[in-house]
């Protein structure tokens, strides 16, 4: 199996979008603040649908929010 893990830039994107809070982002995509915190920390991988919603909120392609990091392991 190919080794690697998913990393994300949600914290940076929130900062560039007027320091959007985790609660606001969660509310806009239909999850709790705790779920956004878990995604940001890399502890929880969101569904594809939630991932696309996050990208849509920031108005960027999915690949700018989530990346596959081949050097990292779980």
């Amino acid at each position: 199996m190919i080794e690697g893990s998913i990393s994300n830039r949600i914290r940076i994107l929130r900062f560039h979008n007027g320091e959007m809070s985790q609660a606001e982002l969660g509310q806009r995509i239909g999850v709790t603040r705790q779920t956004i915190a878990a995604i940001e920390a890399g502890k929880y991988s969101p569904s594809l649908e939630a991932a696309f919603r996050i990208a849509q909120v920031f108005n960027v392609p999915l690949g700018e929010v989530f990346q596959w990091d081949e050097n990292a392991t779980h």
């Binding site: 705790q34 779920t35 969101p46």
Partner: protein, 139 residues
């Protein structure tokens, strides 16, 4: 702490507080033939204690964070619930095989009933334990 983690803690505490003493007491009782109303009474007390803790606890938690209580579970909450139920299932099915297929040949009456109850309580403890652990780990 998220509302759903608090409710899982509540369920875990209610289970341990209500059924911990119950199993401790019944383990020391003499075996009596059915219907054994003393055991039935003990079980009723344990069930009432559990219901009271859960009822009052949910009322208190719901009043403290009414918005969170009304919010339906999101995808991570549902993933945690699925994981916890599948973990508890293994214990439940093993216990039920023991209770239903093995114990009738060497036990009877309240021994079998208590073994079934113990399996159910154990599975519930695993279920809520995995929920709490998952929220603690943020996973």
């Amino acid at each position: 702490m998220p509302y759903r983690e608090k409710t899982a803690w509540l369920s875990l505490i209610a289970m341990v507080v209500a059924f911990g003493p119950y199993f401790t007491i019944v383990a020391s009782l003499h075996r009596e033939p059915l219907p054994n109303l003393r055991q039935l009474g003990l079980f009723a007390v344990a069930a009432i204690v559990q219901m009271l803790i859960l009822g009052l606890g949910h009322l208190y938690l719901g009043r403290r964070s009414p918005e969170e209580a009304r919010t339906p579970p999101d995808e991570r909450d549902r993933a945690i619930i699925r994981r916890s139920i599948s973990s508890a299932y293994y214990l439940l099915i093993a216990g039920m095989i023991l209770v239903g297929c093995v114990m009738p040949f060497n036990s009877s009456g309240w021994t079998i009933i208590n073994a079934a109850l113990f399996t159910i309580v154990g599975a519930e403890v695993v279920h809520y334990g995995v929920v709490v652990f998952s929220y603690r780990r943020q996973s």
